[in-house]
Amino acid sequence: MQALYGQLLVGLINGSFYALLSLGLAVIFGLVNVVNFAHGALYMTGAFVAWFGLSQLGIGYWPALLLSPLAVGVLGMVVERTMLRRLYQLDNLYGLLLTFGLTLIVEGLFHHAYGNSGNSYPVPEALQGGANLGFMFLPRYRAWVVLVSLVVCFGSWFVIERTRLGAYLRAGTENPRLLQAFGVNVPLMMTLTFGFGVALAGFAGVMAAPIYQVSPSMGSALIIVVFAVVVVGGMGSILGSIVTGLGLGLVEGLTKYFYPPAASTVVFAIMAVVLLLRPAGLFGREA
């Protein structure tokens, strides 16, 4: 039983990262109409910024939690302004190809600088240790990750669905030209949205640093699974991508307990089943 609860917790944590990343992808895709392949690379960059900050500059976990997403967000906005912007009139496949190329560049640079091996990042002091719940041991940091991810996810959902800013965002998703005619600076909004979306990826990277090894290839394996999560959930709804992310993480954890060899492929198998039964995705709107 211990092992089952342990795997469920791992699943919940993976699911939190799926949720954070697919949320960012969905927000970006909604307004900017780009599928950001570089999302995984930027998640990795976020983790590396935190690691570099700690090991070279002595910047701890808490400032990194703010600085790292900021750095990644700024990087994203520069990319949006200088490159992605030129592709908006074209088929959105070009956006995917551009971000794919950027992924190769970023990963190649990190591989060159830091090699293939992972670097460990210590758990911050305040979150070390854990609590014995009677049926299992709960490391404090892991509980923190799940909790904060949920707060950030639902916070984003609240901002997008319930505030005036979110209303602009949704209006931009529906009809950017009309919104621009009302005097809203849509191009700026797109830049900021892209920055926010990738900042979420950077944030997830910092959160992940103490759990996984900080390595150049930590992003690309993850992003492909997140794409499958997005296909299963459909990018139509914010809440949908959060629920799907957490759900698939849990399913993965269960698979790891009951039939470990299938753990790495189960998400793709679920994707196949969903495509058969409900091609638009569980929460999708488009046919």
Binding site: F29, V35, M83, R86, L87, L90, D91, N92, L93, Y94, L96, L97, L98, F100, G101, L102, T103, L104, I105, V106, E107, G108, L109, H111, H112, S220, I224, V225, F227, A228, V230, V231, P261, S264, T265, V267, F268, A269, M271, A272, L275, L276, P279, A280
Partner: protein, 327 residues
């Protein structure tokens, strides 16, 4: 939308009389002859590698350039066919012709399954789904016992084709690979220029209209996908025969990206583009193998430059130049 910029150039060139049926025949005749003579001057294994990747990219272009479907998981077909061909040649001692056939058949069947699922969504989702399934196959290739995991299959025997042609010598092997390439290229060419190919193009230009004209769009997409997967498999099986190994590299998503790059760089939607792109990318890989991780950075930079500034591709640019400086 009137298709990728490369194909617009080709259309303009045809209109301007730069591409004429006579010139086309002459060009292909020269190409075939050059291909026959080339191994006397250039290292054959390098050439065969280029030919395999050119076939792979041409098959891929049938989907991206002519049907408007971006598959981000074509390494699945290249890689799995390589493993299957390698396995039947090495473990079961099949002759090379059956090895190639086995690889092609398995890739075709995979194409039916993956294609059948992926065409249920379009656009960007299609790309993500194919990528997902390719990753699933990659994990299977890591885990299944017959693939040799991280080591891959080594020392695949080449054997004797039809019991007549000894493939252990470089020149006979080269001409067999060349024949395979020409066969595959011809299949792609005939598909593009058949009534079926015109329906594919109409789907790319305007899917709802093709549907409203009564074409079973999904069926056409699926057949195009299966042809493309099968030919990619033929390329993968041939590659395993040439290099005598099959490894995870050919099933990795980097390979799926590389074939997109070849097509983009050469000119998507042009007949010759993917082959030109394959030549460039394989040459680049070859000469840059000493610089380690910088290869990825350079390939990525070429990708970014291609998408931002060079969407016609090399063939598209050449046609563009020819139109403005007529010869």
């Amino acid at each position: 939308m009137s298709g990728p910029p490369g194909i617009q150039e080709a259309r303009e060139a045809r209109r301007a009389g730069i591409i004429t049926p006579g010139r086309k025949r002459a060009f292909f005749a020269i190409m075939v002859l050059v291909g026959l003579a080339l191994p006397l001057a250039v290292y054959p294994v390098f050439l065969m590698n280029v030919l395999c990747m050119a076939l792979f990219a041409s098959a891929f272009n049938l989907l991206l350039g002519y049907t408007g479907l971006l598959s981000f998981g074509h390494a699945a077909f290249l890689g799995s066919a390589g493993y299957v061909a390698g396995h039947v040649l090495k473990a079961w001692g099949w002759p090379p012709e059956l090895g190639l056939l086995a690889g092609t058949v398995v890739a075709t069947l995979l194409g039916v399954v993956i294609g059948g699922l992926a065409i249920r969504r379009s656009g960007i989702y299609f790309a993500m789904i194919t990528l997902g399934f390719a990753q699933m196959l990659y994990f299977l290739a890591v885990q299944l016992p017959f693939t040799g995991g991280e080591d891959g299959l080594q020392g695949i025997p080449r054997g004797t084709l039809f019991g007549l042609v000894p493939l252990d010598q470089p020149l006979p092997l080269y001409y067999v690979v060349y024949a395979v390439f020409l066969l595959g290229f011809f299949v792609v060419y005939r598909t593009i220029h058949s009534p079926f190919g015109h329906v594919l193009r109409s789907i790319r230009e305007n899917e709802p209209r093709a549907l409203s004209l009564g074409y079973d769009v999904d069926r056409y997409k699926l057949v195009a996908f299966v042809i493309s997967a099968g030919l990619s498999g033929l390329a993968g099986a041939t590659k395993a025969l040439v290099l005598q190994f099959a490894t995870l590299t050919d099933a990795h998503w980097h390979k799926s990206g590389e074939v997109v790059l070849m097509t983009l760089l050469g000119g998507m939607g042009t007949v010759m583009g993917p082959s030109v792109g394959a030549l460039v990318v394989v040459t680049m890989d070859n000469y840059l193998s000493g610089v380690g991780d910088w290869v990825t950075v350079i390939i990525g930079s070429v990708f970014v430059a291609g998408v931002l500034a060079f969407r016609r591709g090399l063939v598209g640019e050449a046609l563009h130049l020819a139109r403005h400086f007529p010869f």
